[in-house]
């Protein structure tokens, strides 16, 4: 599965080498590919009766994980912010 990351790195090198050309079409291509992949994910979800039946539980799980992740990052950023402010004094 690390193939996917290899594709990103190859793209990054090519992008850097040809950076003088304006790649306006690239952001359009990214948007189209993202939409296509989410359409495919949606189809897969729709075809899976277990996920459809459990969508309420899945939503609650997603919310719980997000609240924990957001709280953790807010607390860590507060520590860094206090450190930066104390250095300025």
């Amino acid at each position: 599965m690390f193939k996917v990351i290899a594709f990103m790195l190859i793209g990054g090198i090519l992008g850097y080498l040809f950076r003088k050309r304006e790649p306006g079409y690239i952001s359009k291509a990214i948007m189209i590919l993202i939409c296509l992949l989410l359409l495919l994910l949606g189809i897969e979800v729709g075809k899976n009766p277990e996920i459809i039946e459990g969508i309420a539980t899945i939503g609650v799980e997603a919310l719980i994980i997000t609240l924990a992740a957001v709280a953790g990052s807010a607390i860590m950023s507060l520590l860094l912010w206090k450190y930066i402010k104390s250095r300025k004094k």
Partner: protein
């Protein structure tokens, strides 16, 4: 915001199509989404590599701010580890994979679907959409109670684009470069961290 609505509506249209049985099952046997994902990552690579304007602006940033994305990663993953005890049916690594999206819901949900299936992929999609929406809706709350960096931390991988306007408004314009830098690093880290937590 418009972009998010477009992306989510594609997901919803997909669910409806899946429910109606119009699409044959064979479509998924040959791993079509994996090839589309490779094409997507190739394009993401090109857009990062050719973005010299953003790369140059990072030179003007005070060194201590370079730590912010690292603090965000530690805080997010720490929160995920703690909450995993409340969700015993998932492994710690799965919850950390969901958290490693940092609000980049399109990419992280696609990756997690590839590695762990559509159920965890959908959790990742919802969770990371909620993260972005929280940053947008509760921006003043985070700035007031957790300091001016909190909004950039909560915004995660989205602070280069969708949540940038609210950061400039509520944290201040002087945080433009910090916000771009943090978003850039977290954006880059999403495929690596998600792959890591899905494969351990």
């Amino acid at each position: 915001m418009r972009t998010s609505i477009i992306i989510v509506s594609f997901f919803i249209v997909g669910i409806v199509l899946g429910l109606t049985d119009i699409i044959p099952d064979e479509l998924f046997n040959n791993n079509i989404s994996f090839y589309v994902l490779c094409a997507l990552m190739f394009c993401v690579g090109i857009s990062i590599g050719s973005d010299s304007k953003t790369l140059k602006s990072f030179k003007r940033i005070s060194p201590v701010y370079y730590l912010l994305p690292l603090f965000t990663i530690i805080g997010t993953l720490g929160g995920c580890v703690l909450i995993s005890f409340m969700l015993p049916e998932r492994t710690i690594a799965e919850i950390m994979a969901v958290g490693s999206g940092f609000g980049y819901y399109s990419l992280s949900s696609i990756f997690i679907t590839e590695y762990k299936g559509a159920e965890l992929g959908t959790i990742a999609l919802l969770s990371n959409i909620i993260r972005e929406v929280m940053a947008l809706l509760f921006a003043p709350f985070f700035v007031k109670y957790f300091g001016k960096l909190a909004l950039i931390s909560v915004g995660g991988a989205t602070t280069m684009d969708t949540t940038l306007p609210v950061i400039l408004k509520f944290s201040g314009k002087e945080f433009l470069v910090v916000s771009l830098f943090s978003g850039f690093i977290l954006d880059l880290s999403v495929p690596f961290l998600v792959t890591f937590f899905c494969t351990i």
